[in-house]
């Protein structure tokens, strides 16, 4: 600590180390949060359901997605990435997951929402297995922190199915 430069270096180095510790503590504090989100997705309409020229089934849906994700926001939450995926089984694949819609929620105030939309991304199968298919719709979320660990979870909603014939 004998010179100005030595002391300045010591202060800066120690301050940055302690900052890392503080960010670690902030991330750990997220574990004390017990979130209670709710979500509901309704399929309002099957707009069309066709077999594409390449042999794959494709369906267009109109969805009403409503959710209350405000309990996911802690003081250490930067934004929440939320997406809705359709899950179903086919003879070739034990599990198919197709993302239909996603969004980014940047504050607690915007976390309680409903949206009436067609699927943002195409609901296409690997094959032509969708006629009469029962599927689940899952709402996934990723809580992106300001610092530290990212938490992710989902809500599974069952009971949806596609028509028997193409339209």
């Amino acid at each position: 600590m004998h010179s100005f430069g030595y002391r300045a270096n010591a202060v800066v180095t120690f301050a940055v180390t302690i900052l890392a510790v503080m960010c670690g503590m902030a991330s750990l504090s997220d574990n004390f949060n017990s979130p209670s989100p709710t979500a509901d997705v309704k399929v309002l309409n099957i707009n069309w359901f066709q077999k594409q020229p390449n042999g794959n089934d494709e369906v267009s849906l109109t969805l009403n997605i409503s959710a209350d994700l405000s309990s996911l926001f802690t003081w250490n939450a930067k934004q929440v990435f939320v997406f809705v995926a359709a899950e179903y089984e086919t003879p070739q694949n034990a599990l198919n997951q197709v993302s239909l819609w996603d969004g980014i929620i940047q504050s607690k105030e915007h976390a309680k929402f409903w949206i009436h939309t067609t699927n943002k991304y195409r609901f296409t199968d690997q094959g032509n297995n969708l006629r009469g298919k029962d599927f689940n719709l899952t709402l996934h979320w990723h809580i992106m922190p300001k610092t530290g660990k990212m938490f992710a979870d989902k809500i599974v909603m069952t009971g949806y199915s596609l028509p028997e014939e193409y339209r």
Partner: protein, 96 residues
Amino acid sequence: MDWQGQKLANILMQIILVVSTITAFGIGYSIGSFQMMMFTYAGGVVLTALITVPNWQFFNHHHLKWLDPSEAERHPMPQLNDAAVAAPKKKATKIK
């Protein structure tokens, strides 16, 4: 800074930074604002730098005691009126 001053600077730096951390985290967590935590901590770091880095007077209360110049006294500087002693040396170096 003298030795005691350097030790004091070191201890002050560590204590003020740790107290800043605890205060910042406490404030940030209780009001739920990450930004306030960062601002409080930044203020603490600036305060630490202002107190411990410049060479303030209170770091110099225990003056360093240098040794007596006893060694220097055994070899006094030559006096200027010894010209007779110095002249022959000078003649030898003159270029003719």
